[in-house]
């Protein structure tokens, strides 16, 4: 990716995920605005947590054999539980509200604690499905498929349409219930409709984006918009705009820096609130104009930043040919082994090139690819373990790498690599953090270095091994092409 604008291209692999967060950012603040104005913000925190408990519950039921598999989709089962628990929770909270016993905040706090506890307990009951449940609860919106995007667009499109159609009724019932009764009759229908929309958005949103991100989208844009406007129409529009800004900027930073999307978006949303309060000293119009300017400016600036990565230099440009290519260090705490059903491996075993005990891993594959590319750049490659079998992988820390090389009486250049993160996500992309350095051993000067920190798309991968192989190719291509 040369510039962030590429994320807006429909052909971009993660474009459905960007659209998905954009949709959430557009619609959720409209619902959240009413939660903020009605002083029921905690509902926006509690209901997503209840939905999360529902997801964990249905997974447990399915694992125990009480629920059939709904196709091959994990989301289908989770959605069922999310919807069920959300509406049950809303019904129960509504019933307790009617009875008027205790503090409203107290009820919501207790419900939040209970839902959180149940989520953990259901996961404990279902150890086999813990990873799936955790993934769903984390809300991997970044792995949204086309089908899920269509469902999201359909549900949130309907919510948006109803919100726009009945915005006057929702305002009236929220602001002045007595006038609403005189002009529109029984108010309960509008309350029910508003909470129904909130419940639908939360139940579907939690499974797509996770409870944290959903709460962020519901509440933070509305809180940021409130100090800057004095009109309801402007408030709703600004909240929606800030939601979309939060979604786009958050998505950009998440992809660019390989940060988890939920916490990135929520942090950005909180920054928007601080910014809004700082701008409150200006008149509302100036404040809104400045905030829009900053939002749009930050998005454009962030997305248009062109990364000018320098490729690995040619051997002749640095007047050196001898290069010790160290083993790539694995700092992930995972073995990063590739599946053994690789047909190429069988051929290699038959040819006696690899022992049958050996299992190929990402580090070796990466070093093989690096070796080929470095040779093309004119380097004469030697492997440290061929000099001394005691050589293991070099660390990417310059001083440590130079020390190890000198202790092994190596001279010339060394190329070191260290993988800090390697996570294959749904075979669609691999989250990578890896450091590479070209170091002159004699004086410890770093001639070239690069940190790869991003989600590497692997669109054509059909299994985890293929995804890792494709990611290695992409990374090496990146290092040498600039």
């Amino acid at each position: 990716m040369n510039t962030g604008f590429e994320i807006f291209s429909p052909s971009y692999l993660l474009f459905p995920a960007l659209l998905g967060t954009g949709i959430l950012g557009l619609v959720c603040p409209l619902i959240g605005s009413y939660l903020v104005l009605r002083r029921t913000v905690f509902l926006g925190l509690t209901l997503p947590q209840i939905a999360a408990a529902g997801i964990a519950f249905t997974f447990w039921l399915q694992q125990a054999g009480f629920l059939p598999l709904l196709g091959d989709s994990e989301h289908g089962v989770g959605m069922l539980g999310s919807l069920l628990f959300t509406f049950l929770g809303m019904g129960l909270l509504g019933y307790l509200e009617q009875r008027g016993k205790g503090l409203a905040e107290g009820r919501l706090a207790a419900a939040y604690a209970l839902a959180g506890a149940l989520t953990i307990l259901f996961m404990v009951f279902n150890p086999a499905g813990q990873v799936e449940v955790l993934n769903l609860l984390k809300g991997e919106v970044i792995a949204l498929s086309q089908g899920e995007l269509r469902l999201l667009a359909l549900v949130f499109g309907a919510v948006l349409l109803v919100m726009l159609s009945f915005h006057r009724e929702f305002l009236l019932i929220s602001f002045d219930r007595d006038l609403a009764f005189l002009l529109k009759g029984r108010q309960v229908i509008w309350d029910v409709l508003l909470y129904l929309l909130a419940g639908m958005s939360i139940a579907f949103g939690v499974i797509m984006a996770g409870p944290l991100l959903l709460f962020g989208f519901l509440v933070l844009p509305a809180l940021a918009a409130r100090p800057l406007v004095n009109k309801m129409g402007s408030f709703l529009s600004l909240a929606s705009f800030l939601g979309v800004t939060m979604a786009v900027l958050g998505f950009y930073f998440s992809v660019r820096l390989d940060l988890p999307l939920g916490p990135t978006d929520v942090t950005l949303g909180c920054c928007l609130i601080f910014l809004a309060y700082a701008l409150r000293r200006f008149s509302p119009k100036t404040g809104v104009a400045l905030l829009l300017l900053i939002g749009v400016g930050a998005s454009i600036n962030g997305c248009s930043t062109r990364t000018t990565a320098v490729p690995v230099p040619e051997a002749k440009t640095i007047h050196a040919e001898q290069l010790w290519l160290a083993k790539v260090k694995n700092s992930t705490a995972l073995p990063l082994l590739l599946p053994s059903n690789n047909p190429l491996r069988s051929l290699a075993e038959m040819a006696g090139k690899v022992s049958s005990d050996y299992r190929q891993n990402v580090m070796d594959m990466l070093r093989d690819s690096l070796k080929a590319e470095l040779e093309q750049r004119g380097f004469r490659i030697s492997l440290p373990e061929e000099r001394d079998a005691r050589f293991v992988a070099f660390p990417a820390d310059t001083d440590a790498a130079v020390r190890v090389a000198r202790e092994g009486k190596l001279s010339g250049l060394t190329f070191v690599g260290e993988i800090r993160r390697w996570e294959v996500e749904a075979q669609k992309f691999v989250r990578v953090i890896a450091d590479f350095k070209l170091i002159r051993i004699d004086d410890g000067v770093v001639l070239w270095e690069r940190r790869v920190q991003r989600a590497v798309p692997t669109p054509s991968a059909t299994n985890v091994g293929q995804a890792s192989t494709d990611a290695v190719k992409e990374i090496v291509h990146d290092l040498f092409a600039g």
Partner: protein
């Protein structure tokens, strides 16, 4: 701003020309009102006709708001009978401005336009005619110049006038005002009383307002409904205009 003599002239003109319609807009017969089956007011007998200017006087907590809420259908009656000869959408209600939540970002224009929400379809764009009518309503209470201001940044008197404009947007047959004169400046107080008198005399609207200030009610209202210690009775008003 009208002088006391002008107000007198309006009032006497109205008294001559109106009260021709015998059907009461609201009538209460032996009504008991209260909460959780505990009566706050008992044996309430009252009939409000078009053109009536009623003042409801009583100390705080005596049941003034309870009576209003029952008339507006917001509180079920415990006993007796209450009848209305016009739909609830013909009731213009002016709550105490302090009862409204300042958390809502609302301009004066948005507040007043709410009065027309009963007539505008849900998915319809807010009609221009209604917008024009909102401006006229604000004009009527003398706060047209504030229409773009934030409602909650206004003074108590200005807020009260805006809420009256909102009630006028309903195109009401009867106006119910809960403490419209409490906590308002002198200029707003005069404007509000002028508007209430005009509405009854010139438009034949019934007006029923409450206040804990008996002297104020006696100065403005034609008839005074007194509430105190669970009892209710009616007195003649217009203290300052009696010979």
């Amino acid at each position: 701003m009208k002088s006391e003599q002008d107000v007198d002239a309006i009032r006497s003109a109205g008294e001559k020309g109106l009260k021709t319609n015998p059907a009461p807009l609201v009538s209460l017969h032996n009504v008991s009102l209260g909460y959780d089956s505990r009566p706050v007011l008992a044996d309430v007998n009252l009939a409000i006709y078009p053109g009536d200017l009623f003042g409801l006087a009583g100390p705080n907590g005596s049941g003034k708001t309870t009576l209003f809420r029952a008339i507006l259908g917001l509180l079920p009656i415990l006993d007796g009978s209450l009848s209305r000869n016009c739909p609830l959408s013909n009731f213009g209600y002016v709550p105490q401005s302090a009862a409204l939540d300042p958390q809502f970002p609302l301009s004066v224009a948005e507040i007043v336009e709410m009065g027309a929400y009963g007539r505008v379809r849900s998915y319809q764009v807010f009609p221009r005619d209604e917008k024009r009518q909102a401006v006229e309503a604000l004009d009527q209470v003398g706060v047209r110049h504030l229409m773009k201001r934030s409602f909650f940044s206004l003074s108590g008197g200005q807020k009260q006038r805006v809420l009256i404009a909102r009630a006028l947007m309903v195109l009401p047959k009867i106006m119910i005002l809960d403490e419209p004169l409490s906590g308002v400046d002198e200029e707003s107080r005069r404007t509000i009383t002028d508007v209430l008198i005009k509405l009854t005399r010139e438009k034949g609207m019934a007006v029923f307002f409450s206040s804990h200030d008996l002297m104020m009610v006696q100065r403005v209202a034609d008839r005074i409904v007194r509430v105190d210690k669970g009892k209710i009775w009616v007195e003649k008003g217009k203290m300052s205009h009696q010979p």
